[in-house]
């Protein structure tokens, strides 16, 4: 109950008062030495800060809805002189849970309407309320969830780790492909182990992988666990949900959040989950409010806060059908890499497939610029920062908004196009030329030497539809996944001394033929008409 009640307090109040109690600890140590003359000034400073923090706490608290008053009342005594406040705040936290259920904010976590009458909804909310439900969920799932750990060579300490959970007959464990990727790609160098809730450990083998949906099925010979039930539907938007896993190797953890439905326009289907999914929770189960597994956690995108993604459970069923025998026994490392490569190529082929009708284009000052090279491409006209005050830049940037992990650390996002039209504002042609060259040659690729080989380039002056351009094409191969290429095509229009088009097509992780075809589609789409 204590945990639950604390949650009703707004994060602001918690932050301010958390800071306050931290400061009080400082005060206490300072007041012990108060007799020391040298310390008296410091002590005064700290008292000032304490009072300021207390005021901040009070202020924030006033701003939050009435319903949370009890929590504030508990924190209020902090305004007293430091020596007393220190003692009071120390006990403030246990007092906080004074919040009673009927005083809670009614707008919290309303499940999407399912046509149920109000009373039922209320009961449902009550059932979902903070409370110990997370604890119940965790206890129910505890035995089905294992930590998956990867070891390099004969090393005793793990090189990477993630989570997984048992399904079907209890002998199949579902996890993310990126969790086990190293063991798939380097079967002689990396091995997998599970760590069950009862402390058992043992070797794991990969049975099937789905690079596109970032899923993998693993199994251990001697392991049979209680199972979690898969639910192949998507939770309604706004429905409360939980994610379980081993974040940052901290032990089994459950986080609470809200399922937000399928991500719009996503090729590889993902359910958007607003809640913490941290590294290490990958592969763990995502539970809906009835405790069914609606998906598998994915924590790849790290630079966002509390925006997590979950792979829908329906993809697991298809993969389970394919899981027969351990891959590393059936195939050589070379063959495994070929399988991964083939899956990446199949994915790319689908997302880069030419649209049914003609390639979508956009107009810009007489130029026709190809944008919709495939139907998944999204474009935005951006107000790009100009490289120089006397150069005006208009830009269209297009990309495919999702990608897959082909290999740990190698995120393959398919395609991006950048059209930039530069206009000279009274610059000398030589000066303008310099700006054009600088922009065209600006470094832009972020590839790691561990994953890709250097580029091979060729360039020429080519007559395109309506204008002449210098085209530079650079191609590089992936080191491990033989058969995947990166393309980078830079087109610089060279006819005019006061206006220049700098356009760029970048492809990631495509087969050579596919890349060349898209390049042809792209170059064919560029056009200028006065």
């Amino acid at each position: 109950m204590a945990e639950g009640a604390r949650k009703t307090v707004s994060p602001f109040v918690r932050m301010a008062c958390g800071g306050l109690s931290a400061r009080c600890t400082l005060c206490r140590s300072a007041s012990a030495d108060r007799s020391h003359p040298a310390l008296s000034y410091t002590w005064d400073m700290k008292t000032g800060r304490l009072i300021a923090a207390a005021w901040l706490c009070l202020f924030t608290a006033v701003a939050v809805p009435q319903a949370q008053k009890p929590a504030i009342a508990a924190e209020k005594p902090a305004e007293k002189p430091a020596s007393q406040a220190a003692d009071t705040t120390a006990t403030a936290t246990p007092k906080a849970p004074a919040a009673s259920p009927d005083e809670r904010a009614p707008d919290e976590a309303t499940p999407a309407g399912e046509g149920v009458d109000a009373a039922a909804v209320d009961a449902d909310i009550a059932a979902q309320e903070l409370s110990g439900e997370a604890q119940v969920r965790l206890d129910a799932a505890r035995d089905a969830v294992v930590q998956i750990r990867g070891f390099f060579d004969s090393s005793e300490s793990s090189a990477f780790h993630g989570s997984g959970f048992a399904v079907k007959d209890g002998r199949r464990i579902v996890t993310n492909y990126h969790v086990v990727a190293l063991a798939v790609l380097f079967p002689r160098k990396y091995r997998l182990e599970y760590l069950a809730s009862d402390g058992r450990t043992g070797p794991l083998h990969v049975l099937a992988i789905d690079v596109r949906n970032d899923l993998a099925i693993v199994a251990a010979d001697d392991l049979k666990l209680p199972v979690l039930n898969l639910w192949s539907e998507i939770p309604a938007q706004g429905e409360r949900a939980w994610s379980i896993g081993f974040p940052l190797d901290l032990g089994l953890t459950i986080t609470e959040g809200v399922a937000n439905g399928l991500v719009e326009n996503s090729i590889g289907q993902r359910i958007h989950y607003t809640g913490a999914i941290n590294a290490g929770m990958s592969g763990g189960p995502a539970l809906d409010r009835r405790g069914r597994v609606y998906g598998v956690n994915v924590s790849v995108v790290t630079e966002r806060q509390l925006v997590g993604f979950v792979v829908p459970a329906k993809h697991v069923a298809a993969l389970l059908a394919r899981a027969k025998e351990p891959l590393d026994r059936a195939y050589s490392a070379q063959q495994l890499r070929q399988r991964v490569t083939a899956q990446v190529i199949a994915y790319e082929a689908e997302i880069l497939e030419a649209p049914q009708d003609a390639v979508g284009t956009q107009q810009m000052r007489g130029y026709t610029l190809p944008t919709q090279l495939s139907r998944y491409v999204e474009c935005s006209t951006i107000d790009e920062k100009s490289p120089h005050v006397r150069v005006r830049v208009e830009a269209i940037r297009c990309r495919i908004p999702s990608g897959i992990v082909a290999q740990p650390g190698l995120y393959v996002a398919g395609l991006s196009i950048q059209h930039r039209l530069l206009q000279s504002l009274g610059m000398h042609p030589l000066q303008f030329e310099r700006q054009v060259n600088k922009l065209a040659a600006a470094p832009r690729r972020a590839g790691s030497a561990a994953h890709v080989a250097p580029f091979a380039c060729s360039n020429a002056l080519v007559s395109l539809d309506g204008f002449d351009a210098r085209i530079s094409t650079c191609v590089r191969q992936y080191r491990l996944l033989n058969g995947l290429y990166d393309f980078d095509v830079t087109v610089v229009e060279i006819d005019d001394t006061s206006e220049a088009l700098v356009s760029r097509l970048a492809l990631q992780g495509v087969a050579f033929e596919a890349g060349r075809q898209i390049m042809e589609r792209y170059l064919g789409g560029l056009q200028w008409k006065p």
Binding site: F186, R188, K189, A333, H388, R390, M427, H428, P429, Q431, F432, E433, R434, Q435, V436, N437, A440, R444, R445, G447, S448, A449, V452, A453, P454, F455, A456, C457, S458, N459, A460, L461, V462, S463, L464, R470, I471, S472, T473, C474, V475, R476, Q477, Y478, R479, L480, N482, Y485, D488, T490, V492, I494, D495, D496, T497, F512, R516, M519, E520, L523
Partner: protein
């Protein structure tokens, strides 16, 4: 006979003439010698030169520990050896002997030293050319405000020339006793201006003929200019002969070239994100080669598959995969 003591750069530091048959010249550290050496490897009485009746010279070693050398061989102590003209080594000092019998070659033709005669206008012109390039380079970037930017370009150009010239004039002062400021300024500034403008023009031409290799040819030309400049500096500032000066200049050019290569290219040679886009584009300029057809170009792109595969092989050789040994 004429006896000359030679300095480290083979120029004579002391010369003395002896006439009449039987004339003797003693060489050693002793003050009683005709040629007194300040050489710790020479004996007090080291060598004896005697002018014979037929005009030739007998060279004798006076029984020293280090001996006297002629053409790399020790001269026998008792009998000595008879020469018409020779260069002997006493201790570590070189002594040149010449007699009337030695044939003289024709006089060297006097060539007017153009640079030395016109050193003032040449130095001025060179410095101006460098200044112009520094300012031009800054102007290309269209700095705003303009004036401080251009001043910076001019100051950098002047500074580079000044430092380089100062080093060589100091060397000239130490070696030859004269500063020769204008001559060194001429060599430095002319060389620098030629490199800078030449390289820029090479870029223009490279785009016009679409020959990326031309930029590399430009680098070779720049290297040759640097070599010539250092050679001329060495000849002006030291007593080194042609061959030694050339060898030194070559070595210095090599060092400069390797350093520049390491800084400019070598560092990011292994960079997997590095793309070579070809010669910089020149907007709206005349071009020598006709444009390519798009299909023609795409056919060329097909060849990149092989080139990329080669890059991958090379990359795997340099940094093998984790399980490469399997």
């Amino acid at each position: 006979m004429l006896v000359e003591q030679l300095g480290p750069h083979a120029h004579s530091v002391l010369r003395q003439r002896f006439e009449g048959a039987g004339a003797e010249c003693r060489i050693g550290r002793d003050l009683g010698c005709d040629i007194v050496l300040d050489d710790e490897h020479a004996a007090a009485q080291h060598a004896l030169l005697t002018l014979l009746e037929d005009g030739r010279v007998r060279v004798q070693d006076l029984g020293t520990r280090n001996g006297t050398r002629l053409g790399g061989k020790r001269i026998p102590a008792e009998s000595g050896t008879i020469v018409e003209q020779a260069e002997i080594i006493v201790g570590t000092t070189r002594i040149r002997i010449r007699t009337r019998l030695a044939a003289l070659g024709p006089e060297r033709l006097f060539r007017r030293d153009y640079v030395r005669r016109h050193r003032t206008p040449l130095a001025t012109a060179g410095v101006m050319a460098c200044l112009a390039f520094g300012i031009f380079l800054q102007w290309l970037d269209a700095p705003s405000p303009l004036l401080p930017g251009l001043t910076k370009g001019a100051l950098v150009a002047l500074g580079v020339i000044a430092v380089w010239t100062a080093a060589w004039t100091l060397m000239a002062k130490l070696n030859r006793g004269t500063w020769n400021v204008r001559v060194h300024t001429t060599i430095a500034s002319m060389g620098a201006a030629f490199c800078a403008w030449g390289y820029w023009v090479a870029g223009l031409v490279a785009f016009a003929v679409q020959w990326s290799f031309l930029v590399r040819v430009g680098s070779v030309v720049v290297a040759l200019v640097v070599l010539a400049a250092i050679y001329l500096h060495l000849r002006e500032a030291t007593y080194y002969g042609r061959r030694i000066a050339l060898a030194l200049a070559g070595a210095m050019t090599l060092v400069i070239g390797i350093t520049a290569w390491l800084v400019e290219i070598g560092v990011d040679q292994g960079d997997v994100n590095r793309m070579t886009l070809g010669p910089d584009v020149r907007l709206g300029t005349a071009r020598v080669v006709p444009n390519r057809d798009i299909d023609d170009y795409l056919a060329e792109v097909d060849e990149l598959r092989i080139a990329a595969a080669r890059e991958r092989q090379r990359s795997l050789l340099v940094a093998p995969l984790v399980d490469a040994e399997d």
